[in-house]
Amino acid sequence: MSTRLQKGGRLIDRSKPLSFTFNGRRMQGYAGDTLASALLGADQMMVGRSFKYHRPRGIIASGAEEPNALVGLGEGGRFEPNQRTTTTELFDGAVTQSQNHWPSLEFDVGAINDRFYRFLPAGFYYKTFMFPRFAWKHVFEPIVRQSAGLGKVPTDRDEDRYEYAYGFADLVIVGGGIAGIAAALAAGRQGRRVWLIEQTAHWGGRAVVDGVQIDGQDAADWVRDSLQALESMENVTLRTRTMASGLYDHGYLLAYERVADHTPGDGRPRHRLWRLRAGHVITATGAIERSLSFAGNDIPGVMLASAVRDYVVNWGVSPGDRTVIVTNNDDAYRTALALLDAGLVVPAVIDARPSAKGELPEAVRARGVRVLEGKGIAKVKGGKRVTGVSVCIQAGEGAELESIACDAVAMSGGWSPVVHLWSHCGGKLLWDEAQAMFRPDPARPATGADGAAMVTAVGAANGVLTAHDILAEAHAAAGGKGAAPGAVSAAEAPMMPVWVMPQGAGPKLRMKMWLDPQNDVKVSDVQLAAREGYESVEHTKRYTTLGMATDQGKMSNINGLAVLSDALNRPIPATGTTTFRPPYTPISMGAIAGEARGEIFQPLRRTPMHDWHETHGAHWEPVGQWRRAYTYLRSGEGVHDAVNREIRAVRNSVGLLDASTLGKLIVKGPDAGRFLDMLYTNMMSTLPVGKCRYGLMCTENGFLTDDGVVVRLSEDTWLCHTTTGGAERIHGWMEDWLQCEWWDWKVYTANVTEEYAQIAVAGPNARKLLEKLGGMDVSKDAFPFMEWREGTLGGFRARIYRISFSGELSYEVAVPASEGRAFWDALLAAGEEFGVTPYGTEAMHIMRAEKGFIMIGDETDGTVIPQDLNLGWAISKKKDDYLGKRAQERSHMVDPDRWKLVGLETVDGSVIPDGAYAAAEGVNANGQRNVQGRVTSTYFSPTLGKGIAMGLVRRGPDRMGEVIEFPVGGGRVVKARIVDPVFFDKEGGKQNV
């Protein structure tokens, strides 16, 4: 059994007990524990079930590489699935549950998959579940999905918050082991701006566990002193609990700070996503121990040797009373010593190498431990927990020599440098034959904005495994002056690559050798992939799912590559690795979204009158980031009724529209007229001062993109109104042409959209209302249609445009935005006697439709040219050029068969459904029903008491009076007559009064 030792544990504080629950059972740990060490301390070795076969899964590792020990953590708005217990700090009251089993961890129905494992090899699902055809979706897929999928689904809204932060540094050093610390000291002393980040809560990495001596001190003391030195340098920033999750182009390094994971609910942001811009990056991210592939290596109790050592030394926890060690290198003997020092039993060290005579093996022998040379594990005994191992000759086929009883196995297959960050931006690796590892190829690093190397790897991350060399290298890599710190650690004999144990294991054993214990990928699966031609390592990965689990194969991908290479008998470097992608370990979606949620999810643009609308029943419509009132609902009123009420009010008396969102762009200069003539299809240079003109803009591709009223303010100054969506777009468009094409033209522009609150006062009583406010002569003769005036209206600085989008007598009044609300209130007060009625965008839309005015976004959709909308009158014939003119000369644009704008009147007075198409006879070459037109705007007109619509119809204007058919579904066909699009007040008598 695993237990908490009486003494020891560098990182725990026995005076601070913490309690937590696992599957409802109360357990106890200490401050400084991880969930994993606390679970082991409470003899909870088995913590979950595997993905495919639902086999029992125990804790294997002590860090980021852990594939198995995932739990659901927390409750309600703080529940999170798949939490890696080895990297989660214990906190008081933590609630945890094991995953992927039903009904219980101990008894899991899904485990019957395990009985049939023989029938479920890699990719079996590609070869079956094909009949009957519907069965995949309705029978097989649901079963597959249910048994897969690991963690439970969060249900509640996240109770935590998150944030971003930007940091800048000359040098960011990733990894707080001795390599990172030495590099930081070296760089810090030269006054460079340095960041040193460490993913765990503690500095020192492996050296402090291994009992390395640095500059005559214990590594732990050297680390403590070094950190003090670093803290005293204000050019150095130190961060624990901060993981470099990815390195992106141009030195952009994402660092994931777990601010409050260990103090949930304390009000701080849970995670902070640092966006560090680094002049250079040093990865001192260490190395990860590899598992060994022997039968039953997935049984709970089989662990990495370094992890066993960590649990004993860091947390005072013993994974087992009797621990057999199996290895292909000397480092694992440190684990034997650590166990012995803790008073635990090591029945034997099984060393695959023909001979183990190094300093460390001898030290272990000296403590009376059997060292079995040239041996391996044939298979591990036990089900939910290790009960023993059977020993065999590594060079053989697995015949049992002896059986050793034990309750834990510590394995070491060598080490793999953590090369993720090095590789994220394309840094290449080389194969180190002697140490059997891929390590960074200094000749092929990832390059940055200047084309030079962006990253340097040092320490174990660079494949350097002895403390002394590591310190020297790290010191040098950071441009350290003077002598590097020196270290003493036991000398080590060479390791020997071991990819399958025993070497000659037959199929039966290989079907029990796990490479990826989370996804249940075994040696036999990789060999099957090779046999079937999935030869590329990327094919093998995707066919077997090797390395695609939540640990991304940190522990054993290399074993898989080696097995694949062996199966294809090609060298390992020819196989290569799969692509390393961010994040290094999974990061929360919450952190990725940062502060952007709720109120500040996105900017919400408000007009000066926004609050009034809000408090007066505005039914909002998002228009870009603005919100405009679609209509104003009175108590008990439906949307449709409200809209009709508003229209009647405007047509019969007077209404107010908040038009502040319309774009307002000033264009000024000697060449402004010439410029606008290029921008608009019509002639703007000839517009007299004091007057307004409706204008159209096209893209260079000829399509109508925006429209609005242009105002000539003075000899060299124009004001261009754009659509709400157009303001920024068109302003940018203007600047683009002025800066990049006609930079010799003397024109300045300014976007003054938000300077003004603009209100349309429309209806027969509009003039009366303005006269009541007083201060300006708005009479028919003094202020004709399509002109503008400036003055003081009811005490407000105002510019008034006499333009109409509703067909009514109408004035658009612009006042300073800061006074907008006051002016709105003044209009409401003065308008009371006329029953003045604020109206929304829908009323506006319907009224313009009654008048046959087009609407950008309704009549246009990016495929429509002005000619399609019979707007020829707004296209100057005198100009030999304007943006879009050339495009409109292309064959398809002048095709007489183009669909053109007409009015549509249903035969029965009903409303044609939105977006309906007019069918034509027959079908096309692809069997699709031919069409001859479509509806672009369709409404019920309260003014006319019937449905009205505009649409685009092939040769429409030549077909007045013709009735065409709109099939609208359910066999229903709406018949509509082609008519003039102007339905109301054709003569314009109402607006010209």
Partner: protein
């Protein structure tokens, strides 16, 4: 996440402060031009795997357009220069040629 120095205000801006604007040094073809000239101008853009000249706008900054020479295969930035240039500055071209000897030139 690119960084480019805006030649108009001197800020080393990050990508999120900028707006990309496609191929640089385009010649506009208007009325009277041939169909294929116009097609070439509007649609058939250079798309090299390597050295590329492109337009950028310092949108969340000084608002000015500028031009950049960048490698689309490594994202290396060779330099930025004013939008009011009819061709890449000679010294920039020289710098690129030094780094990319087999570069076929900007045209």
């Amino acid at each position: 996440m690119l960084t480019l120095e805006c030649p108009c205000c001197g800020v080393m801006a990050e990508e999120t402060e900028l707006a990309a604007g496609g191929e640089a040094h385009l010649k506009r073809y208007g009325p009277g031009s041939a169909d294929d000239e116009f097609e070439g101008y509007l649609f058939v853009r250079k798309n090299p795997k390597g050295v590329h000249f492109e337009r950028w706008r310092h949108a969340y900054g000084c608002g000015k357009w500028f031009l950049a020479a960048r490698c689309t295969a490594t994202l290396e930035v060779f330099g930025t220069y004013p939008a009011q240039s009819t061709e890449p500055p000679a010294e920039l071209q020289a710098r690129i040629r030094a780094k990319r000897p087999d570069w076929e030139g900007w045209k």
